[in-house]
């Protein structure tokens, strides 16, 4: 069975890009537009979450905290999407429990490499 990845981003094109790239690698990708929608949609099983940090309603940090507090999926790897200018936000995400990060802009190869590193 293919592994399930939840991509959380308020940018539809970003989600589409993630879905497009990872579907080609054989993963099942589910989309959510912000942290709140992601929490409502949390699929089971869930193997990886890729989340942007800046989102309306609930941002990435809030989402990471909520997932880590959720007994059903608290050990799931979480990748946050950051930018060069967001060093402080990245640290915040890490202390909230993010597993890894990708600095935007990134190539599709970089995305796939990080996903493989975390869930094989």
């Amino acid at each position: 069975m293919s592994k399930v990845i939840l991509t959380v981003d308020d940018s539809a094109s970003m989600r589409q890009m993630v879905r497009f790239t990872l579907s080609e690698e054989g993963y099942t990708v589910i989309e959510a537009a912000d942290g709140r929608e992601a929490l409502a949609k949390l699929p089971a099983p869930l193997h990886l979450v890729i989340t942007d940090l800046n989102m309306p309603n609930m941002d990435g940090i809030g989402l990471i905290r909520s997932i880590r507090a959720n007994a059903a999926c608290r050990g799931v790897p979480i990748v946050m999407l950051t930018t060069e200018s967001q060093e402080a936000r990245k640290q915040e995400g890490r202390s909230a429990g993010a597993t890894g990060w990708i600095v935007k802009p990134f190539t599709r190869q970089q995305l796939v490499a990080v996903v493989k590193r975390l869930i094989g």
Binding site: S13, F20, N54, R68, T83, S85, K116, R117
Partner: protein
């Protein structure tokens, strides 16, 4: 990048620009509203981020500075001004123009881009940013440079798994960089009662041989750097020349063994057989003591004692395997010796006989091999003398003048099958019958199957040869063979077709000392079943019993398996428990189930002989001492099943033949019961 994705970005960016405009206009009315600044920032952030990803580098570069400005607005470092708002609105128009250009509609003015940026900088006092370097491509790095060896100590923090990192995947990624030797440091694992399954307690010592730069190695650990102890250092003393030599040599782990054998160290030494016997005896005692230790430590529930006990258990099993394998010898030596015998006998009897060997490399315990010599000589002699015809007779029967005796050996579970077959005249069932009646072995009215008739030639004082010859025929051969084989806890089978020859199959245990057994319980008694013949264990459900309508057949994975309820068959008189288990055994008669109360588990079984008094007990091949000092009987599933089939047939025949078949059921169970009563009393007192 696919057009579909570019299209998606185009649409989204226009939407975001609309949002940006709206936010900017609101901001003009309400300069202090952080929420509005946030909206504008997010729009710019997304345009920049996605733009770079979808190949709109010019848009990304252009938007970068705008984003930075709004980030500073957001954090209060800058205040919104009408100049800034107007400038951003123009910048939005410029982005739109760039989008148009990308989709082939019109051209964007690059000069205007630069002008807008310059204006923005002068307005906010920012300096020109240095372009962000794309992260180095690891794959390229691997290709360059010479392979070096790195020692990596990786101690993940305990919360690493909770944070979603699977350390094994990191090791796998390292392996992609080069040759990786992995050693696990499990010393940090606490006793079972203190283990939190969500925490990581282990560390790894890794040796990586790779051409990749150290940054590439560090990059693998980049997500966990802050949550682990990580030391990456080159293996010392690696001059360039040495490194090259290293590449030509096999890896250090393997080279040790290779060197040893190349220089001829791994030769053999001669040890007296007694010393080996002593060794095996000691190992047997050790296994028995180990069983006691396991039992005690399981009762104590002390993690430290349990750890030691498990360690000793592993070592004992390894020691056992090792010392048993020392005693294993191929049968070839014994087999080859018979060539001479066949040659000499052929001359004596004026018969042309060839000896064919099969499976001579099959290994068997030395003790068994030693005691196998005599029975095999008897069997070969018997074949040459009685079975094989003279050359003239063979020609007349349309067979090749040269007869063949085939000696073969093969493994079957924990047993070895040795077959002596000839292509002679075979056994004449009627002659055997007549002879047996004449000798008073059976009643004239007895109804016997062919196999039973053939087994009569193993009875003492039976010989079908009309004349006594020098070679065989005194009627002592075959019963001696049977005695010898049974002394080895083996069994003997005869198959024959008149005119085509006869095959005698010896079924021998691999070893006489220690076997892997399965400990089962029936009532208060324990029994051992040989693990090598055990296939699987299933529950005997009330439904199975109901479905079978009184016949003793269970369905196991769609296969019908007849079963024997041991407590009844062995007349143990134990009450039937609520739940029973069937051990499905592989026997000569096919798959049969043995019903027991409970299967307790693996047991290294040191085989003790039962003594002369119990030599008629066919279903028990020995006894062993359990951890608590009690005795468990070792059951022989082949004989058990065969005995049960025989008993069923006897019931069908209604006892029409009176001959007490050798070692048959009635007689046996009486003695068996005598034994079990005794055994019971041993461990009751």
């Amino acid at each position: 990048m696919s057009d579909r994705l570019r299209q998606a970005f185009d649409e989204e960016a226009r939407e975001l620009l609309g949002e940006l405009e709206g936010a900017l206009l609101e901001l003009d009315q309400n300069r202090e509203d952080a929420e509005i600044v946030g909206r504008a920032f997010r729009a710019l952030h997304t345009i920049k981020g996605s733009g770079a990803m979808f190949g709109f580098d010019n848009i990304a570069t252009f938007t970068h500075d705008l984003e930075t400005v709004f980030d500073r607005l957001r954090s209060g470092q800058l205040a919104a001004s009408s100049e800034l708002i107007n400038l951003t609105l123009s910048a939005g128009d410029q982005i739109r123009a760039m989008l148009d250009e990308a989709s082939g509609r019109g051209r964007a003015d690059e000069q205007r881009c630069a002008a807008l940026l310059a204006e923005l900088r002068s307005l906010t006092g920012m300096t020109e940013r240095s372009g962000a370097e794309p992260p180095p491509d690891r794959v390229k790095a691997v290709e360059a440079g010479l392979a070096r060896r790195w020692r990596i100590h990786f101690l993940p923090g305990p919360e690493i798994i909770l944070n979603g990192t699977n350390p094994l995947l990191l090791l796998r990624e390292l392996r992609e960089l080069g040759e990786l030797e992995v050693a696990l440091d499990a010393s940090g694992i606490p006793p079972l009662s203190e283990i939190d399954p969500e925490r990581c307690y282990v560390a790894w010592d890794l040796t990586l041989t790779t051409a990749a730069p150290p940054e590439a190695i560090r990059d693998v650990f980049i997500f966990v750097e802050d949550h682990c102890d990580l030391a990456i250092e080159p293996v010392p003393g690696q001059a360039a020349a040495e490194r090259e030599a290293d590449e030509r040599r096999p890896s250090p782990g393997r080279s040790g063994g290779a060197r040893a054998s190349a220089s001829g160290v791994a030769s053999s030494i001669r040890v007296s057989a007694e010393k080996l016997d002593q060794l095996v005896n000691l190992v047997g005692e050790l296994v028995t003591v180990q069983a006691r230790l396991s039992e005690l430590s399981a009762k104590r529930d002390d993690a430290d004692v349990l750890a030691v006990s498990e360690e000793v258990d592993r070592l004992t099993a390894a020691l056992r395997e090792n010392s048993m394998s020392i005693r294993m010898l191929p049968l070839r030596g014994t087999f080859e010796r018979f060539r001479r015998l066949v040659h000499d006998l052929g001359g004596e009897l004026h018969k042309q006989v060839e000896l064919a060997l099969e499976g001579a490399d099959t290994e068997l315990d030395k003790t068994v091999i030693d005691q196998l010599n005599d029975p095999l000589i008897h069997l070969i002699r018997n074949s040459m003398d009685h079975g094989i015809e003279t050359a003239e007779e063979r020609r007349a029967a349309g067979k090749p003048a040269t007869a063949t005796i085939r000696l073969s050996a093969l493994h079957s579970g924990a047993q070895v099958l040795i077959r002596v077959s000839d292509d002679g005249r075979g056994l004449d069932a009627q002659a055997v019958r007549a002879r047996a009646i004449e000798r008073g072995l059976i009643e004239p009215t007895a109804q016997l199957s062919e196999a039973e008739l053939f087994s009569l030639i193993l009875e003492p004082g039976f010989s079908t040869a009309r004349e006594v010859t020098d070679v065989s025929g005194r009627g002592v051969g075959m019963d001696v063979v049977r005695r010898n084989v049974e002394a080895l806890r083996g069994s003997l089978d005869i198959a024959s077709k008149p005119g085509e020859g006869m095959t005698v199959t010896l079924r021998l245990p691999l070893t006489l000392a220690i076997i892997d057994g399965l400990l089962v319980r029936i009532g208060e008694m324990h029994f051992i079943l040989p693990l090598a013949s055990s296939l699987e264990c299933v529950e005997l459900t009330a439904q199975d019993i109901g479905n079978a309508h009184g016949s003793r057949i269970a369905m196991v994975r769609g296969e019908t398996v007849p079963y024997i309820r041991l407590s009844e068959y062995l007349r143990l008189g134990t009450p039937r428990p609520e739940r029973e288990q069937i051990m499905v055994m592989e026997t000569e008669e096919g798959h049969y189930g043995l019903v027991v109360d409970e299967v307790l588990g693996n047991h290294q079984t040191v085989i003790k002989n039962l003594g002369r008094l119990y030599r008629h007990v066919q279903t028990v091949s020995g006894a062993t001492i359990l951890g608590n000092g009690t005795v468990a009987l070792i059951l022989d599933p082949h004989r058990l099943v065969r005995g049960a089939i025989q008993a069923a047939q006897d019931r069908k025949c209604g006892g029409r033949h009176k001959r007490p078949a050798p070692g048959k059921n009635t007689q046996e169970t009486v003695e068996f019961n005598a034994f079990t009563r005794k055994e019971n009393s041993i461990h009751v007192t």
